[in-house]
């Protein structure tokens, strides 16, 4: 594994067996997480982004999850090959996760302080006294006022934004190397979201955690991420630094996304260009490029084979047949790319 990387995902394939058939949620996903960076994985419903995140933590429901292939390299190990007990030693102290809904992420019957100290005692072997002190520190760190009193309160006594801070405190308690945040601010108001995103940025700098941020909100990505991976129907279709991907996107799906979002900074004459149709059914994913059915530039080859990745720079790759030398030259829509 490359020294710059703290996590390497190679050719991950995950499916679910349901009564409706097998749903291929993740169909060969490959990406790296560099030390200290924030990587955003962006996609819409059915893109497989959440499943990818949960697969790293091995939190997918055991009963019907089938890992059809791939490796997740962390340090010397392949996380997919570890036993449950070994995963438990990783979850928390090495890799932590923050979920979308703060209401259900916390145990309503346990005081907030205890939910933090549990982790500290188990993974770091702290004594009760040390752990309690650290819990108060952590609450302060995540910006909860009156930490000494609040550490003894129950989750229902906190507002949504505060609860999410608590969840972050628990996640960062053991100073994990990787933090996976799955839509951490989607359920929150926009002003609270701003607070939480600032917090995440601050904490990342302080603790040096590498962050994988799962989201569908491109604004959030522009605000906090260093690099971005765009997923569609179980595959990554474009990756690059945030600037490269926003200002020089190379894949029609990315163009489509950027062109269909209203910008608060633009004037109202800028048309919204929607992407027609809907994402494909993952129990029967199409051959070739999954975006073909909705792509305005589709060619015959697009529905036969998934395109090879074209490299544009050290970080910037995209998978699209338009980059093949035999493909016609195409300009992205006016709404997209270019300096602001």
């Amino acid at each position: 594994m490359n020294d710059d990387n703290i996590l390497e995902v190679r050719d991950l394939q995950v499916s679910f067996s349901t009564y409706a058939g097998e749903i291929q949620a993740v169909r060969s996903v490959t990406f790296d997480l560099r030390r200290g960076e924030t990587l955003a994985i962006v996609g819409e419903s059915g893109s497989g982004k959440s499943v990818t995140a949960k697969s790293i933590m091995r939190l997918n429901p055991e009963a019907n999850t089938i890992v059809r292939g791939g490796e997740i390299l962390f340090g010397q190990e392949d996380l997919l090959k570890l036993g449950e007990k070994q995963m438990q030693d990783i979850r928390g102290p090495k890799i932590a996760m923050v979920f979308q809904d703060p209401m259900t992420s916390l145990d309503p019957t346990m005081k907030v302080g205890r939910q933090i100290t549990e982790s500290l005692k188990k993974h770091l072997g702290m004594s009760g006294r040390e752990a309690s002190r650290r819990a108060v520190e952590l609450l302060r760190l995540v910006g909860i006022p009156n930490a000494e009193q609040r550490v003894k309160q129950y989750p229902h006594q906190f507002s949504g934004g505060m609860r999410q801070r608590v969840v972050i405190a628990i996640a960062l308690a053991c100073e994990p190397q990787i933090l996976i945040a799955d839509e951490p601010t989607t359920a929150l108001d926009v002003t609270i979201q701003a607070q939480i995103l600032d917090l995440l940025r601050e904490l990342q700098e302080k603790i040096g955690t590498s962050v994988i941020l799962i989201t569908h909100d491109l604004g959030v990505v522009a605000s906090v991420a260093d690099r971005i991976a765009v997923m569609y129907a179980g595959k990554i279709v474009e990756t690059g630094t945030v600037r490269e991907t926003f200002y020089d996107p190379q894949m029609p799906y990315t163009w489509g996304l950027l062109a269909s979002i209203p910008l608060p900074t633009a004037d109202r004459s800028r048309d919204l260009i929607p992407i027609p149709g809907s994402p494909p059914d993952m129990s029967d994913p199409p051959e070739g490029c999954p975006f073909a059915a909705r792509c305005p530039y589709v060619m015959r080859i697009c529905s036969t084979e998934f395109p090879e990745y074209t490299t544009f720079s050290a970080e910037h790759k995209a998978a699209c047949w338009l980059h093949h030398p035999m493909a016609p030259n195409v300009e992205p829509p006016a709404q997209v790319g270019g300096a602001r």
Partner: protein, 326 residues
Amino acid sequence: MTEQSSNGNGAILEVKDLKKHFKVGRAYLKAVDGISLSIKKGETLGLVGESGCGKTTVGRVLVRLYQPSGGEVLFAGEDVHRTEGEEAKLLNRKMQMIFQDPQASLNPRMVVSDIVAEGIDIHGLAGSREERLDRVHELLETVGLSKEHANRFPHEFSGGQRQRIGVARALAVEPEFIVADEPVSALDVSIQAQVINLMTQLQKDRDLTYLFISHDLSVVKYISDRVGVMYLGQLVELADSDELYANPLHPYTRALLSAVPVPDPDYESERERIVITGDLPSPINPPSGCRFRTRCPQAVEEAAHVDPPWREVEPGHWVEACPCFT
């Protein structure tokens, strides 16, 4: 708090000091606590705010799902909550609503044609079965679906398609005014644009008037002519769309606008964010005077004692004139 409104300039809807309080145990939850605005025919008024601000309640009071606790709502000069019988029924046709949740807004046990034709059935707008079916097909095509979809069940459709069915249902009774309550919030980003474009097209074709309720400031700015910002049951600012975003006056509006992340990395790395601290106060016991003062970055002592007046500080630009910035 009254906005200068007159029927003369084509206001189809007028809201005067509207209040809606819900009884919670012994106390009252003041979901809406004195809102005044007017909407011109053919206009889209956006209503933004975060959770607990009361915007959804406003929408529901307007279409008469709730009775107001105070104030009045006038549609074409008529008090909508005082009408009865035939007139009330007519209002059901003129004022319609589009709902937020594509899962819950369609009866899972009914086929699409029955869902869409419900208004037609209730108001007897079709003379025969064929006519009813024809109208359903027409409506489905108007919203970008097809005839084949008519005898299917809601669960067979995607979120975006379900929202279209909801739009078709509202259109079936030929409304003049539509309250759209977070119509695209539950949809994927690339699908949102489909529904937004549909709504804009329909507005042009049918001269509809919209009240567009949303927490998403970018969407609201795009689709609305004017925008009102709500906080804790009251309007804090109301202005033309472009004006509001270019020149926000109220500290809450400014904080709200600065909190919205923009998909433009350079812009984001350079911008100054106005951070508001603290939690939303309870609507059962809102702060005295200016309600935003407990979280306002520029709060002044006076704000607690004075009910800030609702003033038109520039033509068309209304603001709750809190002492902290006036």
